[in-house]
Symmetry: C2
Subunit: 333 residues, 2 copies
């Protein structure tokens, strides 16, 4: 049973790691010198974060976090959005809280007092616009079941979970509690696989979750291939089609493929000058879910997803800088 | 007596308010609703900072501070640069310290422990690229004579002071100590008037300082007119010519005028797409001083100043994003 949208207070509830991004441009040699895998996300401890930060060029700080980015973009597109994530009671936590609130996202999670500091992600942008991320989880490690308000989950059409949330140990329980609460209320649960290496770290848990508890799956090529341990995208896509009600699989400049039952919709990418790919997948999910929860068809969902992704990769940082409020209404279908 | 450049450890020592900027785009109506004077800098208390921040759209944090921006740009141009300014022992202080260090600027000032937090400036950028600034001085109020290391001053060809430093009460003494130490070592002292309203607040002190202790003066039209209480730029410029050895007077897109004794050099602005004027004057001073301390002529100084200003106004934020390291060597004279 799926509850009607009309009784939902929110369209989307995101749950994720609440992170402040520090972006800086680097040469490729910086990445190899620091043993970083270009384009991926690595978890680092406080000491390594300090060492990398010391070596980095001057940075630009903006609020980030994968699901939080999705929430900010979805709100910019006009969706009603809430977010659960753990920041600390410190300056960067205040920056995160300000930005997500100012983006129009309801953010009720209380800050952590007396624990680890607010998480930060050191994002190195190379000249080809690829971003390489190094995340110090900090306060995010404290996110657990207690932070999941089941009434809030029940009030949202879609609860959206980021795969990165599988990294901090207590969050998997939060994840499962949220999925159960959503389904008990007749709502849907969406998951983004986030990163191929994140899938590697948690493959068994992801497979079980995707098959048993996820309605809508977002992944890029390498993530979906990693999840199903297939070299061929088509084979992995076919397996996703079996597992979930709806899968949106992104292929960078080749656009995306939306699968629902026997249905397949090919979506073109929206052309833009690519400056920084940080947040591309997050923005895609935002556009898709904003259109879906507004009752639009799959082609429209995919198109709005592509518009949002194109906006975010056209500048530094993962949150939109252009007014996106008219884009949903302007969709053809 | 002026010491030869050859025995200087640094080309430029900047002294200023150490500030982290929070930039966000706003409509003009935001400025009027909050009683702000477009294009100017206002001092605000912690409570007002909190109120404006609450009302602001999502922001982007970058290190700022007028003289600190000048130092970062001058270092990017290849000058040897040091900076004195007061941050707190907090997260934003760490961001400021990282960024100025990563820019290649020597920053020996110890952070303030147990006092006010690191200063921040809420910068509202309107669609016409004008920035309106609201500064909460925080830890900057603690900067005084004790922070001025006279050996460091003596080791720099030019000590560069920002006019904004007249706002925190203890800084005027630091200012005078630095000027005296520089002259005792046969070095030169430069001042930027910073802001017409800042000149209004401290006109008598500025007039006395400029006439008695400043060798190189930077000002824009409204600042120099405010200093000498003249409506006509030409009259104010003539008075500046009497007061200081060298004056560089900027006139936005009309370029700038460099005056030295009977000599007058007209400098054209460098054309660019203007996105955000934050830091334009700071970058101008950086280019000018980097060329001057490298022994270049006035026309070359003005041209490098214009190149640096054009780079900084072509994007969000006051620190350079393009590689400027070849610009000094590429100058004609």
């Amino acid at each position: 049973m799926v509850s009607p949208a009309s009784n939902a207070r929110f369209d989307i509830l995101g749950i994720g790691n609440a992170i402040v991004d520090v972006l800086a441009p680097v040469e490729e040699s910086f990445l190899s010198r620091h043993d970083m895998r270009k384009g991926s996300m690595a978890l680092i401890d406080a000491e390594t974060a300090e060492r990398i930060y010391q070596a980095m060029p001057p940075g630009q700080e903006t609020s980030g976090g994968s699901a939080a980015n999705t929430c900010a973009v979805a709100a910019a597109l006009g969706a009603r959005v809430a977010y659960i994530g753990q920041v600390a009671d410190d300056q960067l936590g205040g920056v995160f809280r300000h930005d997500i609130g100012a983006a129009g996202v309801h953010f009720p999670t209380r800050p952590l007092v007396g624990g680890a500091p607010t998480a930060r992600c050191l994002i190195l942008v190379s000249r080809d616009a690829q971003r390489t991320m190094n995340t110090y989880l900090g306060a995010c490690v404290s996110l657990g079941e207690a932070e999941v308000d089941v009434d809030l989950v029940a009030s949202a059409q879609v609860t959206y979970l980021e795969g990165y949330l599988f990294d901090p140990p207590a969050a998997q329980a939060a994840f499962r509690k949220a999925a159960a609460a959503a389904h008990a209320a007749g709502r849907r649960v969406a998951l983004s696989l986030s990163d191929a290496f994140c899938v590697d770290r948690h493959r068994a848990a992801f497979r079980e979750l995707v098959a048993g508890h996820i309605d809508i799956l977002f992944a890029n090529e390498s993530e979906i291939c990693s999840l199903y341990e297939r070299n061929e995208f088509d084979q992995a896509a076919a397996m996703a089609r079996q597992d979930v009600e709806l899968a949106a699989l992104t292929r960078s400049e080749q656009g995306s493929l939306v699968l629902r039952g026997a249905e397949t919709v090919e979506v073109a990418a929206v052309a833009t000058k690519v400056v920084d790919t940080t947040g591309a997948g997050d923005a895609y999910a935002a556009g898709f879910l904003a259109a879906l929860t507004a009752g639009r068809g799959l082609a429209a969902c995919g198109h709005l997803a592509s518009i949002a992704a194109a906006e975010v990769i056209s500048h530094y940082g993962a949150r939109p800088q252009r007014d996106l409020s008219k884009e949903l209404a302007a969709l053809a279908t």
